[in-house]
Amino acid sequence: MSFTSSRRTTDGLPDLSYQPRAARNIGSRFLTVVAALFSGIAVLPLVLVLGYVLIKGGSTLGLNLLTELPPPPGLEGGGIANAIVGTLVVTLVAALIAIPVGVGGGIFLAEYSRSGWFAQFIRFGTNVLSGVPSIIAGVFIYGTIVTSRVLFGNAYSALAGGMALAILMLPTVIKTTDEGLKLVTDDLRRAALGIGASRFVMIARITLPTAFTPIATGVVLSIARAAGETAPLIFTALFSPYWSDLVSGDGLLAPIASLSVLIYNFAIMPYEFHNQLAWSASFVLVAMILFLNLLSRWLGRFASR
């Protein structure tokens, strides 16, 4: 018997023990250190950004910040209250559009036509739509809704902003509904149909409730993403330094403030106080979004239990 290994034990057998100084082992350890270093670099921005947002934004957090209007350029004092309300309103509008459409579309894909040509086409379209840059959604809504003044003669409006965000949410909601429903075992469907349920009853009473958690997780994540979007809002919802008139509903048809646009506008202003407000708005926005993300994570864990 012949062995090609160069290292031998005293018995003349090949030495299989780990050789810490062999070139390939040194190389392997080196690459491990490099990978560790890369991971460190990859999480560094998160730590730094969260740290700065927490310190710079959290330090000025007060009641007036959450209840007052932003000051005019150059003046000081005031808060970001209308932007907080605006972000909630625009995101709510987007969710009210995207969730029914997305869940409905997902139901079609998963329950009615898993592999038909139309379903494949819609799946392809969903993937393509999720790759469309967010600014394009803004351009599209600007070109259709804003310039045509189709919403009762109003150009820039909270509704238009919500529609632009809905376009961005739609692919995520459809995909998670489709995939969530596919996870439901076919036994449940057969059982429901077998005892005489109609397809509608089967979906509404059996499969949708079963798939609730994965769908809810995806929906919450898409809401979190929409809440932080800026690009689709800057020329659809625009910005407003005033309170939106939500009681009569006219506020929905008028330009509306939002945290993300406020950050953009105030960050590039040459006034220190406005820059500071942008940091405070970042703190509120990041807190909202991280809360939604953790909520979706909790929902996911709840499901796997």
Binding site: S28, L31, T32, V34, A35, A36, F38, S39, A42, V43, P45, V47, L48, V49, L50, P100, G104, G105, F108, F121, I122, G125, N127, V128, G131, V132, P133, S134, I135, I136, G138, V139, F140, G143, L170, P171, D186, R189, G196, S198, R199, F200, A227, G228, T230, A231, F235, S260, I263, Y264, A267, I268, A278, W279, S282, L285, V286, I289, L290, N293
Partner: protein, 316 residues
């Protein structure tokens, strides 16, 4: 199960109302599913139609000339298209090793699983931070921090065209760095998923014939996961091309073409964000033309990503 077999099992007559609800619900879901297709086509049509005027006026010259002059009503998106391709490709070059390295580190059993999960969670949370917040951070924290390094690059290498102008604050390099931060989570998450899907047998076989950890990773595991990783990288490229807010806040939005990476530049998305609100007349049409170019670029990248994934997926 299939609808065409329903008649075999008809034991009771369904009331008319029930059938109506059933049929109505199905048609409603079909209508809702078609919304996706309608929106997608509408986006293409609206942007294409909006850009027709500029297309007729400038033709393909629009893509290579870079004078953007609203006063004389002369437009060319060359600088913005160049900036879009340059920033996204440069950020990809930096982010791919970082992202794939991180993905390897958190899928290998080098450190305890709880720490790896924490690292994975942190990278995912990075993806959740809005780009406008990253832009704010880039303006007030990152750019002042790296300015001395950029100034050094200029003084030491000013004979290179890419470092030929003094750094003035906003510029291409800070924009590239913030793009790296934005696309890193995508590359990491997708690479991690595809690395996790490599069957354990392959690794055991590699160790069995006596390779080292990195011998197995480089020769066996990465080739097996390459389709997913390439797909993730292409998705990240599409995202980098379309990324708007962080870039527009830090790139300087200059339409003057410059080879220098230290000079202010522009991307299509940044140009749209900056000018669309105030534009009128043929400027709108030119911006729509630029938007159309951006759509074509991102759709091309996305479709190519899918094709590559199919092409590269190994059968094992």
């Amino acid at each position: 199960m299939a609808p065409d077999q329903d008649h075999l099992y008809r034991l009771r007559n369904r009331p008319f109302a029930e059938k109506l609800v059933d049929l109505g619900f199905k048609n409603i879901t079909i209508a809702l599913a078609s919304v996706v297709a309608v929106v997608l086509f509408a986006i293409l049509i609206v942007v294409f139609q909006g850009s027709l005027e500029a297309m007729g006026r400038y033709g393909l010259e629009f893509l290579v000339t870079s004078n953007w002059n609203p006063v004389d009503d002369e437009y060319g998106a060359g600088a913005a298209i160049y900036g879009t391709l340059l920033t996204s490709l440069l950020s990809l070059i930096i982010a791919v090793p970082l992202g794939v390295g991180t993905a390897i580190f958190i899928t290998e059993n080098i450190i305890p699983k709880s720490i790896r999960n924490l690292l994975g969670l942190m990278v995912e949370l990075l993806a959740a931070i809005p780009s406008v917040v990253l832009g704010l951070w880039a303006i007030f924290v990152m750019e002042p921090f790296i300015r001395p390094a950029l100034e050094f690059l200029h003084t030491a290498f000013h004979w290179l065209p890419m470092f030929s102008t003094p750094p003035m604050g906003p510029g291409t390099i800070p924009a590239v760095l913030i793009l790296v931060v934005m696309i890193l989570p995508i590359i990491t998450a997708i690479s991690r998923d595809s690395l996790n899907q490599v069957p354990g047998k392959l690794r055991q076989a590699a160790y069995g014939v006596g390779t080292t950890r990195w011998g197995a990773i480089i020769n066996v595991i990465l080739p097996a996961a390459v389709s997913g990783i390439v797909g993730g990288v292409m998705l990240a490229l599409g995202r980098a091309m379309g990324e708007t807010m962080a870039v527009t806040m830090i790139i300087g939005n200059s339409n003057n073409f410059s080879f220098s990476l230290l000079a202010p530049g522009n991307t299509i998305a940044a140009m749209l964000a900056n000018q669309f609100g105030e534009a009128d007349g043929s400027q709108v049409s030119s911006l729509m033309y630029a938007a159309f170019v951006l759509i074509v670029l991102t759709l091309g990248v996305n479709v190519m990503a899918r094709w590559l994934v199919k092409r590269l997926s190994l059968k094992y």
